[in-house]
Amino acid sequence: MSVADYAAEHRLAVGGGLAALAAVAAITLLDLPGADLLTVGAAERSLQAAMPIALAAIGGLYAEKSGVFNIGLEGFMIFGALTAAAAAWLISGESSITQGDLWLAILVAVVFCALLTVAFAVLTIRYKADQIVAGLAVWFIGLGFGPFGATVLWGGVSSPTLPNVNDVVIPGLAELPVLGRLLFDTSPLVLLTLVLTVLAWVVLYRTRYGYWIQAAGENPEALDTAGVDVNRVRYATVIFSGAMAGLAGATLSVGIGSGFTGTGVTMVDGRGWIAIVAYLFGNYNPIGAFLASLLFGAMDMLQIQLQTVGISLPGSITGLFPYVAVLVVLTLVGYTRVPAAVGEAYETESE
């Protein structure tokens, strides 16, 4: 096995190792108090930052595994973030928003984004639209109609400050050292993300639907001749990816954030794109994608962590860490084996 093969097979290990090495090197060279950097608080923040990325990544990897590159994740996340904030605002009658309102709002965002992806799926699967161009269009539409919707509702591109989902303490379990605080005394969305990650793994690798998804993306003809409708599988995964992107967006705006922000490239701020790299890095494995998201989440939170130990880099620079990390990952880990039939519309071969 060549070095390249090894790197490709064990990309997460290699990536994690590189990251750890870089961290150790930085700590030693800059004489940083390492212990202060790696705190439970840091882990908690990283986990929270990773959540939206991981959720979108899992949706995106399902779509791509089945043969449709949903490059519009970023756009669907914008819609998710806006819809959740708007729904919370409208459900509560513009007054005090309850926890129940928030959960309902998240559900509305998921359903709404799933419906939007139905249109995307019809265009890419039935009408064979170019998947890359159509996905970019979704992003542009999100960048336009997201802030537009916010302005219609609130008179500005961002919503007023909204409450977010309360942390939940699970008695007993929360007392566990480290893990207790990370998982059982935090936003329930963290736990939800973990559950969804594991569930996504089980469905993909242990159920017949998972087999069909893999076959649809790798050799649709094999699936077709086995009597399974390839395009139905693809519709299902694309719509699922929209629902997950909606959940990811909702998590950003009302899950851990404080409402919708529509300035610049909106509060989603490239997380949809990072999600794509996360699942590529995770080699289309939901658990791998989650771990990769964690890496990017940690990058995102590095700024705060550096500040707490007394290193103050300008925000404009530390904010770039995740993007640089994406480039490094894509170039160094290099070739990701993309499912063979991605991007091609499938038509059954018989006349």
Binding site: T207, Y211, Q214, A215, A222, T225, A226, R337
Partner: protein, 517 residues
């Protein structure tokens, strides 16, 4: 499984047209239960079309299909599978990234509480394996891509059996196998027929057909030439049936003698995209005014050899020398400029840009050649003239240079490519299957042009799997088998039977009768 004595499959007068081309013209075929029926013929003879009709991929324009005595119409492969017909394609219908077990049960997974029931899947596959003596059970958790081609093929067969097939179509199953794997496949086929399976075996290797088939049907130009008994026929008889005599034209007497060496290839080794060695130490040389033909069954390294010479594929070792200059490491473009023309095997994806008109296609490969391009600027008027000259001289129909290449018939596309490559006096022409899929009129025309070019002093390297073509055009004829030249013979002094044996990899001594001298 049918208990009656009815044939497993009976095809009666199957006709299939694609536009004006008749791919199958009233073909009959009867597959008796528990036997192997070989379907042989050259490329383009209509073998795959006929089997695609049986497998439900094409709807026939005429004729009937009976399976186990029952008339059937198949709208899709699913219907065929339900009727017990399975097909093992040349390109396996397997998902590379999934395991053997997952592939076999795909679409027919046993489940337990929503999860795939691994244990009952395993048990069902084990049963198929033990019934027919397959040894893939130890690979059940291995991914397809980590298995050799021979094992993958057995997985395909097990998959069909798992789905209840009792008739299997094997589409050129030996084309991708090593000799050892071929032997193993033949053992498997014998085991299958012993257990009541019926097999259709598509091949163009005559010795293989004779080795395993009970009956052999020969197709030529879409028609069935006849069915013979596998035990009593001879390779000579089959070769004659396969090739026929009607397309042949007499080679012209040469008017000049060959000159100096134009192309010299020494100890060349080349790998394919998967990193497997396909060309294993070939030496060859072509002189000006000479045609060196390379005969062989497809997939024995011809494609890689040609790509290495034309600069489309790097070599592992060895040298390519053109007119005394070592060009082993030079780019494709340098070789074009040096005067190497290339008529590619695949005119659709390589030789022509389908969406370009003929004018723009006339520039393909000539991007740095004066007078079409000067100082980097294209002289489109000059290119247009060039295209018009090709169209006129090579009788391309319809004679419009504005026509998109994709709208032309195969023969006319090929004439355009040949014309473009030959019209600016190259020193060497590499022609790969120059008449594949081309109508008879165009074949004669292309053959005539190649002979004229040779007489004008051009060196020609011709690769073809058509025996009549290489025999008639070549001055010397090399036979390739598994990446090596088996022998170089005088095309006028060798019989088709001998060539067939050489193409099967047997040394000439054996072909002559095998007496040691």
């Amino acid at each position: 499984m049918s208990g009656s004595g009815a044939p497993a499959v009976e095809l009666d007068a199957i006709t299939k047209r694609f536009g004006d081309v008749i791919a199958n013209d009233g073909v009959d075929l009867t597959l008796e239960r528990g036997t192997v029926h070989a379907l042989v013929g050259e490329n383009g003879a209509g073998k795959t079309t006929l089997m695609s009709v049986l497998y439900g991929l094409y709807e026939p324009d005429g004729g009937t299909i009976c399976v186990d005595g029952q008339p059937r119409t198949f709208d899709s492969p699913r219907d065929a599978i339900d009727a017990g017909v399975g097909m093992i394609h040349q390109h396996f219908q397997l998902v590379d990234t999934m395991t053997v077990l997952q592939n076999v049960v795909l679409g027919h997974e046993p489940t337990d509480n929503g999860l795939v029931d691994q244990d009952s899947a395993r048990a069902a596959i084990d049963e198929v394996c033990s019934t027919y003596g397959f040894d893939i059970d130890k690979h059940l958790d291995t991914r397809i891509e980590d298995l050799g081609v021979g094992v993958q093929q057995r997985v395909e067969i097990v998959k069909s059996l798992y789905r209840g097939a009792d008739t299997l179509i094997l589409d050129e199953p030996t084309a991708v196998l090593t000799p050892q794997e071929v032997d193993e496949l033949f053992d498997v086929m014998a085991e299958l027929t012993d257990r009541g399976q019926s097999l259709i075996f598509i091949t163009h290797k005559l010795d293989e057909a004779m080795a395993v088939a009970d009956d052999i049907t020969v197709l030529r130009d879409g028609e069935s030439v006849g069915t013979v008994d596998g035990a009593s026929t001879s390779e000579q008889e089959l070769a004659r049936m396969m090739v026929g005599r009607d397309v042949l034209f007499e080679g012209q007497e040469r008017t000049t003698e060959p000159g100096s060496v134009t192309l010299d290839v020494a100890d060349l080794r080349v790998q394919d995209d998967r990193g497997l060695e396909q060309v294993s130490g070939i030496d060859l040389s072509v002189r000006s005014g000479e045609v060196l033909g390379i005969a062989g069954v497809d997939g024995n390294g011809q494609a890689e050899l040609v790509e290495a010479i034309t600069g489309l594929r790097p070599v592992e070792s060895g040298t390519v020398t053109f007119e005394g200059r070592d060009i082993t490491e030079t780019s494709r473009r340098d070789r074009i400029e040096a005067g190497i023309a290339y008529i590619p095997e695949d005119r659709q994806s390589e030789g022509l840009v389908q969406e370009y008109d003929l004018v723009r296609n006339a520039l393909l490969g000539n991007q740095t050649i004066e007078p079409f391009v000067e100082n980097g600027f294209v002289d489109w008027d000059r290119v247009r003239e060039h295209a018009a000259e090709i169209v006129a001289e090579y009788d391309v129909q319809p004679p419009h240079v504005e026509a998109d290449a994709g709208s032309l018939s195969g023969g006319n596309q090929q004439k355009f490519v040949v014309g473009r490559e030959l019209r600016h006096d190259p020193d060497l022409v590499v022609a790969s299957h120059p008449t594949r899929g081309v109508d008879i009129g165009s074949i004669e025309f292309i053959h005539g042009r190649l002979h004229e070019m040779r007489d004008e002093g051009m060196a020609i390297l011709l690769v073809s799997s058509k025996l009549d073509e290489v025999q008639k055009l070549s001055d010397r004829l090399a036979v390739i088998h598994e990446g090596e030249f088996v022998d170089v013979v005088d095309p006028d002094a060798v019989t088709e039977g001998e060539l067939g044996l050489l193409m099967a990899g047997r040394e000439r001594a054996a072909a002559d009768g095998g007496v040691e001298r």
